[in-house]
Symmetry: C2
């Protein structure tokens, strides 16, 4: 029992966040109470505002500020004109590409991969929206950045067939040795793949 | 740049919590958006409610549910009747005692220790309230559970003098070898203290 019921409630509520258990939640609650009440109240209002407003972009299904507006990335005309469309499984994959700064086209976010056993089919992944984009004639190449797994492979096959039906070029991210990685610590699947797709010098 | 300004705001606001940097904040934001919007909104309302309401208990200066009410621990008549009053530096110290379950008196929380160089004197620690409790004749023993440091020692001296002026018995937590601790990994200060205060068997 702590000295305050409201404090107990706060410590319990903080544990909704991943990686925050009772010890971290207690530390966070006391820290906010002791030193940062104003910032904590700001967090409360930002949390409410963003969780209520953030919706999916109608073009790419990534998170957007809500309403019928395109997200910031889809609104960028340079990106649209590139004709490159990169399909990823989650919004965090988009963050990773943007952080690396190596891609200047637009994205399409699946929010998962095909998994009939879990009831996740083309509709759940919003593939109707993707089909419209392929039909619109603005996409010159579809780049599949789905995970290298059995489910990811099945999803990639399905998407590749969709693209080919529309006569759109389709590619998938290269597999192989990570930059800075050493050979001896690689798993056998990656090593086999790096041999199979070796580059002529 | 992420796809949503509101998402960027949320990731920034989450970093007010100790131990949460940009990577954890991003993970938390996406997790709440992807899977737990309702729980996230609940966290927002509990955060607002608790940070606005939680105040200091007028008796012990620990956190209470607000208003002029005593906190849950001070309201317990068995605890009051014990006559034992334990002085700690922070509310988390109270949690530690309560978790151990080895103390059944009441507490007084200093929220720091005397530190004239930082402008923290008796007034900042609420020692006027403590003096009233000592004068009320309800305290039979004042137990000092302040930290074992130079500042803690100075604070303990000051509080001991206050208690003696009111004719109240005063004690300080024992120092020595922690239960389950091994001698070889102890610092020299603790080892010297455990020798000095050795127990006759």
């Amino acid at each position: 029992m702590s000295s305050s019921k409201k404090l107990d409630d706060l410590i319990a509520a903080l544990q909704v966040m991943p990686g925050i258990g009772p010890v971290s939640a207690t530390r966070i609650a006391y820290y906010l109470l002791d030193h940062r009440r104003a910032d904590g109240l700001r967090l409360s209002s930002v949390l409410k505002d963003s969780l209520e407003a953030i919706a999916l972009c109608p073009d790419c299904r990534n998170y957007s500020d809500g309403g019928a507006e395109r997200c910031a990335l889809c609104s960028d005309s340079h990106r649209r004109e590139s004709g490159l469309l990169c399909v990823v499984e989650s919004p965090m994959d988009v963050e990773a590409f943007e952080h690396a700064g190596s891609f200047s086209g637009t994205y399409f976010v699946l929010h998962g991969h095909l998994s009939p056993i879990d009831g996740i089919g083309p509709e759940e992944l919003g593939l109707g929206v993707l089909k419209q984009r392929l039909e619109s004639g603005t996409v010159s190449e579809l780049i599949l950045a789905v995970s290298q797994s059995v489910d990811g492979d099945a999803t990639a096959e399905y998407l590749a067939a969709m693209a080919r039906r529309q006569g759109v070029k389709v590619s998938r991210l290269a597999t192989g040795v990570p930059i800075g990685g050493d050979i001896q610590s690689l798993d056998s699947g990656t090593l086999a793949s790096s041999l199979q797709f070796r580059r002529q010098l």
